[in-house]
Amino acid sequence: MKKAFPILGLVTAVLLSYALYEALVVAPREQTMGDVQRIFYYHVPSAWTAFLLFFLNFVASVQYLVRRDPKTDRAANWVLVAVAGLSCVAALVVKLVPDLMQALPQGVEVSSIASTGPIVAIIYFLMRRYFSVEAVDALAVTTAEVGVVFCTVVLVTGPLWARPVWGIWWTWDVRLTSTLVLWLIYVSYLVLRRFSSSGQTPVLAAALAIFGALDVPLVYFSIWIFRTQHPQPVIGGGGSIDPRMLHVLLLNWLAFSCFAFLVCWSRYRLERATREIEETLALEALLEPRNALR
């Protein structure tokens, strides 16, 4: 495993520089916006990565709380299986009833309804299989921290693009505001982790992450009522995109994902090592008085 780290680092570096070249040179110039549109190749992949990391943080937080008790652990497993099954059933029902099919919002497809539940379940069970309870908490720290970094990139590159294109730095539109609130919630999550006493940090932080996850749909819905100014999502939404641009975008996303994975990996190892050292020191402190008595 340790050998894979530098190899992955090298692959990431190559991918990132190639993706940079593609984004700046190869990708076609946007007709109306001009070169400023190229920031899109950083903005969108960062956003996807940040949301993915926050989602992983939510799964890890739920898992940390649930797995402390075998009873809730078993119940959660069944809930996950039920979620996977239900989403397939829901997709089938939508497919069979034409009225529902028509009522689907733009960009939502039957296949995405069918795959959401199973994907969530697979992520949950993979995490459960490969991470112990303590490791899941370390994973939660890692994903929250790296997620905040990527979310910051999104919030910085967004206004940089908006100023020349919209003529304003910021607007209280649904996507912008929800992303900002998500960022705020996760910053408060990190502050809580920093300030709470060590033994209780994981539980309190996990509870806050769940509250944050409850909050985000409400934030989105409440601001949705104001007319949205953000461009429609170009993939699976109302917008359309040149296939060459899509190619560059996906390449950049791959590079960013590799980069995020690399950073997460090293942060995770650092977190585990820190905890191991803390435990050893605590153990030594416990043993010391006995040694002194001898």
Binding site: L184, S197, G199, Q200, F221
Partner: protein, 227 residues
């Protein structure tokens, strides 16, 4: 009367009696809200038409700030003489305690709102042009939204260093949708534009309350026993 409601009532009665005798939370809240009102009126000095537009925000922001003052004290009271530890080892259900605290805070913040609203009306020359009765559900649902999350996060920040600062840091980001709904609903009612209705925001506020009350009740025991 089943046992949990009995415990809730007993704790609630105790809190109200304590508050009645000391008036710690209420006095500090009232004075704080009064200061906020006065500071705001210095910084804006609005005419009646403008103040209608901004009053919803002013009122709710000052109530939110004032509520934080009271919320910070709810659990601190239980820290003296290790009362909270006694709760933790007792077989009493954690949620009964949580509900008692939340209802107690709800009552205190409601009293604050009842006392401060006339002041707002006088200082900002307010008069609702829309259906004023709708302000009642907005106030009740909004106050519960602030208080239920506030009580939960106050219990959470109890275990942190610099806990007084911690509560608003945790509470404000999560309260944003509720605050937005309260402010929007209040502004719509005050301005009284017939083309818009506050109903959407009231429903949203009710949804927020249901979601977060459930969340708090589901997680409170875990947070209380966090070790």
């Amino acid at each position: 009367m089943s046992a949990p409601t009995g415990i809730t009532l007993a704790t609630l009665k105790k809190d109200i009696r304590l508050e009645w005798r000391s008036k710690d939370a209420l006095n500090s809240m009232l004075f704080f809200a009064l200061l906020v009102v006065i500071v705001f009126s210095f910084s804006f000095d609005p005419v009646a038409e403008e103040s209608r537009q901004i009053a919803g925000g002013l009122v709710w922001v000052s109530f939110l700030f004032a509520a934080v003052v009271a919320l910070n004290q709810t659990w601190a009271r239980e820290m003296r003489n290790q009362v909270l530890d006694a709760y933790r080892v007792s077989p009493a259900p954690a949620n009964a305690l949580f509900l008692a605290k939340a209802i107690g805070n709800f009552i205190f913040v409601c009293i604050l709102e009842a006392l401060m609203t006339p002041l707002f009306i006088v200082f900002y020359k307010l008069r609702a042009l829309g259906p004023a009765w709708q302000l009642v559900p907005v106030a009740i649902l909004g106050t519960w939204a602030i208080v239920v999350n506030g009580t939960f996060f106050a219990a959470m920040s109890l275990r942190t260093r610099s806990r007084e600062i911690m509560l608003p840091l945790l509470l404000f980001p999560i309260t944003i949708p509720a605050l937005l709904s309260m402010v929007e609903a209040t502004t719509i009612i005050l301005v009284g534009d017939p083309s818009t209705s506050a109903k959407f925001w009231i429903v949203l506020l009710a949804t927020y309350d249901v979601v977060f009350t459930t969340g708090c009740l589901a997680l409170f025991e875990t947070v209380l026993h966090a070790e």
